[in-house]
């Protein structure tokens, strides 16, 4: 069965600090990988996604993620966070050949101090 692990439940950073949120998945086949973000009071929205090709994908608002197949990881990064990045971040995966439905991690809450 597929599963997704997000290592950090709550991360607190100061503005301009660098961010890396860990995400590991378990699935033996080809996967699609996603990061979703939920800003306070807003809809869950897509931050970035990986389907194939360049394993370093860039998303909105300066975020990027790197797919490392050998490590089953898809960590999210941002070189310099802003107060407006305060939100909850969810990693998700669906695997080809499975039901294909998204499996989400438990989420990481990011708090950025101004």
């Amino acid at each position: 069965a597929q599963s997704v692990s997000q290592h950090n439940h709550h991360v607190i950073l100061s503005e301009a600090a660098s961010l890396e949120l860990g995400c590991n998945y378990s699935y033996g086949g080809t996967v699609n990988l996603f990061w979703y973000v939920q800003y306070p009071g807003q809809h869950l929205q897509l931050l970035l996604k990986y389907f194939s090709g360049d394993p370093l994908v860039k998303g909105i608002k300066g975020f990027e993620a790197e797919f490392i197949k050998s490590k089953f990881s898809f960590n999210l990064r941002k070189p310099s966070v802003q107060w407006s990045d305060t939100a909850e971040y969810f990693c998700a995966v669906n695997g080809w050949g499975s039901q294909g439905n998204l499996i989400f991690g438990k989420g990481t809450k990011l708090s950025v101090k101004p």
């Binding site: 809809h43 869950l44 039901q99 294909g100 439905n101 998204l102 499996i103």
Partner: protein
């Protein structure tokens, strides 16, 4: 453009009462539709998905049921709510014809509190 609506936005219900949450999608036809529950510290749990009218798949056995009476309408129901049904319920859709292997678009959610 496509939009997704959920109502009500918040709901407080007593234990044992029935439930009906509604989700509608505009601007697309034959979408795949999903119901998730988001509980604090537990991420998003897929409850049901549907690839067409009257076609419902359940991911997790529970006290809830889902129905799709119309192409762009997805309803989450319960005959008798339990305390453990409290949570934030999200509806989502994906483009038709591409299966579930695609970006999902989420609605605003319904906050359900069972007392």
């Amino acid at each position: 453009s496509q939009t997704i609506h959920q109502w009500p936005a918040t709901l407080v219900q007593p234990v044992g009462s029935p439930l009906s949450l509604e989700c509608t999608v505009e601007g697309t036809s034959n979408p795949n539709l999903y119901w998730y529950r988001q509980a604090a510290g537990r991420g998003l749990q897929l409850l049901f998905y549907s690839v067409g009218i009257g076609q419902i798949s359940s991911e997790v056995p529970q006290n809830l049921s889902a129905s799709r009476p119309q192409d762009r309408q997805f309803i989450l129901s319960s005959k008798k709510l339990l305390l453990s049904d409290s949570g934030f319920y999200l509806c989502a859709w994906t483009q038709p014809g591409q299966g579930p292997y695609n970006e999902q678009f989420f609605g605003p959610g319904t906050r359900l509190t069972v007392l």
